[in-house]
Point group: C2
Chain length 257, copies 2
């Protein structure tokens, strides 16, 4: 940080009345409350960097350990991201994504404000994962196309997808996909003009290092995980997707039809 570096106004206020020492509520929770408000009220903007832990600890009149406890919980809730050696940054407060069923996945984001884009992180071939073997009903010696994509809203990552597809069915995957990064274009080019959603499973987990990096989360942050299956009209299974979502930023919506 620069030489004198003035405190943000929201922090000055906190600095004056740091916390209530004999309150019912633990000190770290009071600090959590204040930071939480500052983040949700917009006193701190998304992407903005917070003062360092040392400075914050001094402002609130506590040890770094106590301060870090508050920070850790805000990270778990997806409001903050810590970058080692760099600083702590405000994430965007959770918007709700209505990821429906019955409709194609791309349409799921229609109701979202802002521009949704997709970044292709990796495209390789490999052996299928254990889940994919079962989901796609292929032998473990088969080859799959492994496609990792990151979905962004206004250049902000909100969803990480790792897809596995039977390589045998899509000999020209890379070529077609390169054109406009569209999966359905690949399907169409291989004689599958329509495909339909077969099943989705939702569970919870914790962000691995790479997931955290791509999603701008602190490692080991809780996340929502999805397993999805698509099949062709003839019933053959053509796509298996593992999804990873920041826990607070998504609301998955399922309708009977």
């Amino acid at each position: 940080m620069s030489e004198i570096d003035p405190l943000p106004t929201w922090l000055e206020h906190a600095s004056a009345n740091p916390y209530l020492p004999k309150s019912e509520r633990a000190i770290w929770l009071q600090i959590y409350d204040r930071l939480n408000s500052a983040l949700r009220d917009g006193a701190v903007n998304a992407g903005e960097r917070l003062p360092s832990e040392t400075v914050l600890a001094q402002c609130f009149g506590v040890t770094r350990v106590t301060l870090r406890r508050a920070l850790r919980h805000l990270q778990n809730e997806g409001l903050l991201e810590a970058r080692k050696g760099v600083g702590i940054f405000a994430r965007r407060p959770g918007m709700v994504y209505q990821v429906g069923t019955g409709k194609r996945f791309a349409e799921s984001f229609d109701s979202v404000e802002g521009r949704m884009t997709t970044r292709t992180v990796a495209l390789t071939k490999s052996r299928p994962s254990a889940d994919a073997i079962e989901a796609l009903a292929i032998p473990e010696t088969a080859e799959v196309i492994l496609l990792t994509r990151l979905h962004l809203q206004d250049s902000y990552p909100v969803y990480l997808a790792v897809k596995e597809l039977p390589a045998e069915l899509f000999p020209n995957f890379a070529e077609v996909y390169a054109l406009d990064h569209s999966i359905s274009a690949v399907f169409k080019a291989h004689g599958i003009p329509k495909f339909s959603w077969a099943e989705t499973r939702v569970s919870g987990g914790f962000a691995e290092a790479e997931e955290a990096d791509l999603l701008h989360l602190t490692p080991r942050t809780p996340v929502l995980r999805t397993l999805s299956f698509n099949h062709a009209p003839n019933g053959s299974r053509i796509e298996f997707t593992r999804g990873c979502w920041p826990l607070d930023q998504v609301q998955l919506r399922f309708l009977p039809r």
Copy 2:
């Protein structure tokens, strides 16, 4: 604990070679690994109490702070539950519950091993919550039946449900429900022999104090939350349910039909 209280065998082993001081992996993560294995391998049985934090810290040759870090993560994963003033207990490692759609909720647990039971925690009347007002399409001045139920597998809590139903539609709710604690029996008694699932929304969150207590979780543990809606054949909305699940213990499964 009793006077001399011998260490469990799995701990003795750890005690001898506590951790690798100059390893890549952080000390607390190495401790996490050991405890994790002990819990998943069955070296510690579900419901069993661990030695106190002080004892564990000594065994692993670390401070309580470091040990507690490992414990906290195991709590987040639903493997441990800390009870203040009492001790730390092993939870049952996560089983997967296939909570389907299209079928009635009770059937969702059919595939589960062990005996599923339901405990009625509370049954009162009150004003509808904000979510319920929208979900049930009732005015905020209306009255709802507020029903809290805990679902157990072999007397182990796996799912907490808070239901809201328009009181107007079910004048004899309490009487009928008292007979065999069945919701569908109540519906039937009020002229609704059939009802169908309308929608489910899934999101994440963190266990409140009461939720944690009922589900045998440590407070602020990450959980899966569901919002479900049921309606009668004529389309009127008759039930709104908020569900809370231990993050690791559930896999929600959604099919198109």
